[in-house]
Subunit: 176 residues, 2 copies
DNA sequence: CCCTTTTCACCTAGGTGGTAAGAT
DNA sequence: ATCTTACCACCTAGGTGAAAAGGG
């Protein structure tokens, strides 16, 4: 499934005439598994992390493109797909449920991206830079744990319009 | 709009480990404009061609990919989009209505594709090869000129299922 | 007990030819 | 007359959370 809300970044300081790949991966924040304690509205440690999963990388579909092109637009990762299926063969990013993760944005000079692949770790070294934003850390779930998140999802995601109460359009099928 | 039926090709003889772009462009067959004569079921010359339009290239979305990848699959151009709007800014291939055209498939070695662009002519020379299939020549229209074409479109295109007679599912709105 | 999967109605997004109106 | 455009009902394709069913 997609990540929502999606990561969106603006980039400056690139060489306008150089070609770059932009990619995202998602790394564990710690070695723990979590559970949500409803009465205190907090995530609590609930044991150690599950075993690691195959590394996956989302290569932004506009890649490769010039620095000028990347800097002219907001770069959105809304088509990035996540799964909890460790045997996934669709190239989706594989995560464990109930774990904390940090998305990372990678800027890779084209000549350093020759072995860039959705199923290999992002290369490191000269011509490759990684950026993380601590405010984008999130915890994975298979069902929402509190109503603020549910409301955010329904109010902001266009595909969830059918669940909005506004305008009294809410007429869901009645069970007979 | 899309071209239907779409061009589909199989390629052999590539270097499995070399990277290639695959692209398509569509060139005029002659310098004429045509009209369809219904009673003889034939296209007849109806004057000289309209003035040329900006060249456009459809770069196959799997590009670039290895020779191995290209040779393993049927390469389909079903997402290629056409328009008759000479001012198009969506990167669609621009054609004149009532003219004859020949689609061409281009195989471009990655190192020869540095100035490959949707709005520039396909490069020529070393590392670039072009292929045309005379049986794929077609004439552009804005309305179908005979029922065989209409039937082919309706029967074969999944998006036209609503127009099929089969199974007596045909219940279109009645004008009051 | 808590987490996960499946199915569902309800959406967005966009590809069909028919039809009627518009343009030349 | 002939070609073109705009709008329509009808599709494909796939992204939503709710609810029910499944699993350890």
């Amino acid at each position: 499934m997609r990540m929502f809300p999606a990561m969106r970044v603006k980039i400056s300081g690139l060489d306008p005439h150089q070609q770059y790949y932009i990619a995202m991966d998602i790394v564990p924040v710690d070695n723990k598994r979590y559970r949500y304690v409803y009465h205190s509205s907090k995530w609590m440690v609930a044991g150690n992390a599950d075993s690691p999963v195959p590394p996956r990388v989302y290569i932004h579909p506009d890649s490769p493109a010039s620095g000028e092109t990347w800097m002219r637009q907001v770069i959105s990762f809304d088509k990035l797909k996540l799964t909890n299926n460790e045997l996934d063969d669709q190239g989706h990013i594989i995560l464990h449920s109930m774990h904390k993760y940090q998305p990372r944005v990678h800027v890779i000079r084209k000549d350093c991206g020759d072995d860039l692949s959705p199923i290999k770790p992002v290369p490191t070294g000269e011509g490759v830079k990684a950026f993380s934003f601590p405010e984008t850390v999130f915890t994975t779930v298979t069902a929402y744990q509190n109503q603020q998140i549910t409301r955010l999802k329904i109010d902001r995601n266009p595909f969830a319009k059918g669940f909005r109460d506004s305008g009294r359009n809410r007429k869901r099928k009645v069970v007979l």
